[in-house]
Symmetry: C2
Subunit: 213 residues, 2 copies
């Protein structure tokens, strides 16, 4: 068993934050940082950061700290950001348009190669330098272009059928903004959910709970 197989999701979820912060330091021209300074800035303990990085072999030198650009590259490699996984996006409504144009896929490990919708008003529209395609041509597209990741910016009602089709076409990786529960239906798929409504309702709970005190 390789060392990586043991890494917990909570460690993995901290890596992007380290990465972002190191990019920020690099942009500011910072070349070296001590583990204490890094931890203070991130609101974690130095030992936590060391433990996290040790999951991947450990970096930095006792008493010297980390070389920013080096640690940044290493974490980028661990995250697999050079993967450039071919990706397709479903739903060219408000959310799909924002995700397609707002995200910098290339610097986060993906390459957006197709956008699909089933609405005649949206098909043919230009978005993120791509023309929105008719979902009717999906099978042909997938067989030719072999996307490995699908982004779901479609309503829950549309997601089930679409997921089934994509799963049958071999796609196992999903960035899911819909309320359709992909993991329940396809336990072997890799799913990252972004549930904006849940986040908003959680915030609502916390505000009303606070006001009640």
């Amino acid at each position: 068993m390789s060392r990586r197989e043991k890494v917990s999701m909570s460690v993995i979820r901290r890596l992007p934050r380290y990465y972002r912060f190191l990019i920020h330091l690099k942009e500011k021209g910072v070349t070296r940082i001590s583990s204490t300074e890094l931890s203070t800035k991130l609101g974690l303990t130095a030992s936590q950061i060391r433990q996290d990085l040790n999951c991947f072999g450990g970096f930095g030198q006792q008493g010297y700290g980390y070389i920013v650009s080096q640690l940044c590259d290493e974490i980028g490699n661990i995250l697999g950001l050079s993967g450039k996984y071919p990706t397709i996006l479903f739903g060219a409504g408000n959310l799909g348009r924002a995700i397609g144009t707002h995200m910098s896929f290339e610097s986060e490990g993906f390459r957006l190669i197709g956008i699909f919708d089933n609405s005649p008003e949206r098909i043919g529209m230009e978005l993120a330098n791509l023309k929105v395609r008719d979902v009717a041509g999906l099978e042909e597209f997938c067989k030719k272009e072999k996307p490995v990741m699908a982004i779901f910016c479609v309503p829950r009602t549309a997601a089930g059928e679409l997921a089934e089709q994509l799963y049958n076409l071999g796609i196992r990786n999903f960035w899911n903004f819909s309320h359709y529960d992909l993991s329940m239906r396809y336990p072997d798929a890799i799913v990252e959910n972004v549930h904006l409504n849940d986040s908003l309702m959680t915030l609502c709970y916390r505000i009303s709970d606070q006001s009640a005190k």
Copy 2:
């Protein structure tokens, strides 16, 4: 100490999912559900759901299950969804536009009353039935309208100064899409972060980790 003060964040984060699922059942015309059925559909154990609901006094009857509309209303009340907290949104770029138009704030406890930007091309633009306002008029607006929540769809570089201004105007609740770490700077603020880049990078890690096996 009231019962609610002890509720853990992991319980709270499951409530919106229960709520969404119950709304879905209601729409399908389901009037009653057993705790076993509810748990199967949600991929949790019946005892987990009972425990979660017990944090708020417990609902349902042994051997009878839950009345869907009643449980739905109860969870909506717990979440405080009738709060209609006045909310302002910052940044009318791609993401801000999507959040402003895509989200149904009213049904999730909030009321969008203002959208702000500092770019002359965006100020005056119509968005979610509101005209985008110049951030220069923020102080006056806040004193008059008393918003309690702010949504950050601005770049990290703009977030720091804006947060300081809002904090000084008394705003303590944030839905944060920026990479600015609000919780570190304002430990007494209630912050829900949505870090789309982190989610995407985590997905990238999981895909490349899987391919390496």
